[in-house]
Amino acid sequence: MVQPLSGQATYVILLRELKRFWRAKARIIASVAQSFFFLALLGSGLGGFIGGFGGVKYLSYLSPGMIGMSLLFGSVFSGVSVIFDRQFGFLKEMLVAPVSRTSIILGKILGGAVTASIQGILLMIVAGLMGAFTTTVTFIIGAIASVGVMMLITAGFVGLGVAIGSSLNDFHAFQLLSTFIMWPIFMLSGVFFPIDVAPQLLQAAMLIDPLFYGVELLRWCLLGTGTTILGPFGWMISLGVLVGFTALMVSIGTYLFSRVQV
């Protein structure tokens, strides 16, 4: 039976995610600090050796990638948390409420996307303070656009997380998830080195990584540069791939979640 979407239910779940996020300040600080260390150590250490890529210094090159990492981990874990929610918590209670699963999960995805994006924005500010970006008018427009990109990336990865969380019954699989899905996605997204310098086999692997396009787009927004491999209109390709990925993941996540039995 098809149930109508309930805006209230979506809103409630979103509100819940936001409240929880806001109350877990220590976790936010830890997450941003982790990325800060990456930026500070790699940016200065490795940066001193490498210099830079594609006309920008290494710290600047690294920053969009670190934002991408923060978005990836924040959003996938937020999505996977439906495992806990449905077995031990809040979500189970929602499942006996007269609202559709779709409105529940849309709230979850939206909530996960907003909270992970907030972390991304915080990191963007930190990177900016470290001097990763040149604050011009173009940059400010790009930075605003990047917030939209962050939402797009995170919505897709929360969808992925929800899909995984709905299919797994066991949170011991968490470790496997982290090692075999999240780290490859992260490492192949062109965070540390541009795709142009990678060997061909690696390039192929990077091109099937959705986060690669996300980071690419962020870099384009924040730095105005991109890889040569995607051509001069690389940002449009990236945007297209990202929109497709997010639409697909949200659909799959919603579908799998709607089939979840308690």
């Binding site: 039976m1 409630v12 509100l15 819940r16 929880r20 189970k92 209670e93 929602m94 409420a97």
Partner: protein, 415 residues
Amino acid sequence: MTEDIIVAEDLTKIFDKSLVAVDHVSFNVEQGEILGFLGPNGAGKTTTLNMLSTLLRPTSGTATVNGHDIIKEPDAVRRSIGFVFQDPTLDIELTGRENLDFHGRVYGLKRDVRQQRIKEMLEVVQLTDRADDLVKTYSGGMKRRLEIARGLLHYPKVLFLDEPTLGLDPQTRRAIWEHIQRLNQDENVTIILTTHYTEEADYLCARIQIIDFGKIVALDTPDKLKARLEGDIVSLTFKDSQSTMKIRPLFEEKDWVRRVDLVAGENNHAVMSRMMQMMRGMFNDGSISGTMPEMSPGGMVPEISRGEAIRRSKMPRHMQQMLTRGSAGENGHRGHDEGPKRMNLLVDDGGHRIPEIVKLIDKTGVVLESVELHEPTLDDVFLSVTGRNIRDEQGSFAETMRQHRIIREARGQRS
């Protein structure tokens, strides 16, 4: 005239094509009654509840709740019911009020109605002054009460309570029972609860449905269920354990005595059963390791004396003292005879047998101190209809671990 608010017909749930969790179960629930599903872990109680609440789709069969079919009209069913789960489903990172508020929003209650009901329900469960604290600071009993309040916020016709007092201490359990009764009477909510505590079913339920291996093996009022066990238990108390031993063979050879059990040195049945109840709780939740002295019909403990049981248990010292103090006066001047001074006989029509029993004892010259008659308890009934003791863990390992976790949580987070 009462009407049936739930009608279940041939409800069946098979997991993984072979595990029959609920096996062609049919029953009716009357409007306004409290019906208890009594059974050991894994008997199919929760699965039945999950089907009635549309969380699980039956493999075959169906049911109507408040006139709505659980398969065809799940939305209407969901609007008619409230559900308090066995696992805590509160968001502990939110305040009590926020938990209620979110629930109200999801059920489409308008702001002013919502605020009114939240206020009302908080008062019902006496949590008004803690409403704005984070739920993680609540005790186990408070969380349970909040969950019950939440389940009632949208004025459901039927409230499902899955093991409502699992892991709670006796006082909190009693308080929850009183809440449930009050809700049932004042709000006229039909209540269906599952439990594996016979005391709970006996105290609360108008009717009890005993479920075992996915089947209903009995459905009746507690009194009628107990009446099924024909006979009464006649308790005889003697001056010392030698007398008991001397009398024992006398009744063992009588064909009208179905069973003879010796009760270890204890005169006060009430104190005894209170202690048993506490210990049972601890054994069940793992806070005492080891095996529970087996209970025989009538709540008797063979072999182990009461004092010994108290010493062996790891219960807090003040509890030990409280329990030993209960009979110190009586036993003090008699030395330390902790052997069985009491004997329970299961006989037909105990009231009429008493004169004969007394006469038989008189002839031997043994002094009888007291005679007491009691009816079989639900524990005895459960044993008789299923052939098993309800205290035996029958659930899967995972289920048992899960319950232990719930219990730990209920206790650990008490502040």
